[in-house]
Amino acid sequence: MNRKALKTTFLDTVPVLTGYLFLGAGFGILLGEKTGLGVGWAAIMALTMFAGSGQYLAVSLIADHASLISVAIATFLVNARHIFYGISLLTPYKGAGKKKTYMIFGLTDETYSLVTQNEPPEGMTRHTYCFLVTLFNHIYWIIGCSLGNLMSLLPISFAGVEFVLTALFVTMFVEQWLSHKNHLPAIIGVGSTLLCLLIFGQNIFLIPSMVMIALLLTISRKTGRRQDNV
């Protein structure tokens, strides 16, 4: 592994570095303000869960003293989208050996978008690249969550900091839009989710959205093939 390839990998992860410092800080601040838990807890949660929306959810669950069963169900609903990520990476991650377990453990939204969008730099295998991206992101996340928890002690208003997550996904959405000729999947993604949010409400709409997206994409593949322009 050469120094230049390592540097390119780091530069690729810089957007996530910023995103995670903000987003992790948001989590750390909330954890401190809502539950009174300190920096050790923030770091342990970042290390073992490594899930943005999952951890934000965990803060409210701790504050509400929710039962462990409802914790399990709510976490599954929020994180079920990861099942889709695994499906996309079955082939790219094939044969990654020992690194694979960690790469799957650390498969966050942001890691997923980096490894599906970027090509590994010259002189580095795809598996090593994906492993390093996962590891770098994990480190940024632990730092962000811990710093944020310390910042919750400062007398400043952080209202609105949670928008960093939206901004991150909007940026990635625009990137995907610009790099693909076929915009149908993107439109299906937005349309299905909006529709399911309206029908099912904000607590359970993710699962029906995913089912609808998978169905519509499958149907669009068949019609696409018939028209001979897959």
Binding site: V14, P15, T18, F22, M45, T48, M49, F50, A51, Q55, A58, I62, L68, T75, F76, N79, A80, R81, I83, G86, I87, S88, L89, L90, T91, K100, I104, F105, D109, Y112, S113, Q117, F158, A159, G160, F163, T166, A167, L168, F169, V170, T171, M172, E175, Q176, H180, N182, P185, A186, I188, G189, V190, S192, T193, Q202, F205, I213, A214, L217, R221
Partner: protein
């Protein structure tokens, strides 16, 4: 004790969602073609889903009618189309939104 149990449950459930496809479609079995196709088109659809997911708590029929979120998203998208610098789009977009909700709305 409750907090430790909660952390273990959240970590295990999160991991199960990430490992599930790899456990079902192992390295040795051949992955069905439909699953491979979905793997290719899903990234675009998922980014759209995640944007909407972030907006689930917006109240379009009550004050502030989702205006700060709408302005924030338009700001981020335009800035990104113009400069194509993710770092700038995310950082400036978040600060823009924070100013909107703290000062104006």
């Amino acid at each position: 004790m409750y907090k430790i149990a909660l952390i273990v449950v959240v970590a295990l459930v999160t991991m199960s969602t990430r490992f599930l496809p790899f456990l079902i479609f192992g390295e040795k079995r051949k992955t069905p073609e439909l699953i491979l196709y979905l793997g290719k088109v899903l990234p675009c659809a998922i980014m759209g889903m995640l944007v909407v997911y972030c907006l689930k708590e917006v109240t379009p029929l009550a004050y502030p009618y989702g205006i700060p979120e709408l302005l924030g998203i338009v700001f981020v998208a335009l800035l990104h189309l113009w400069k194509r610098n993710s770092l700038l789009s995310i950082g400036a977009g978040t600060v823009f939104y924070m100013i909107l909700v703290q000062v104006i709305f």
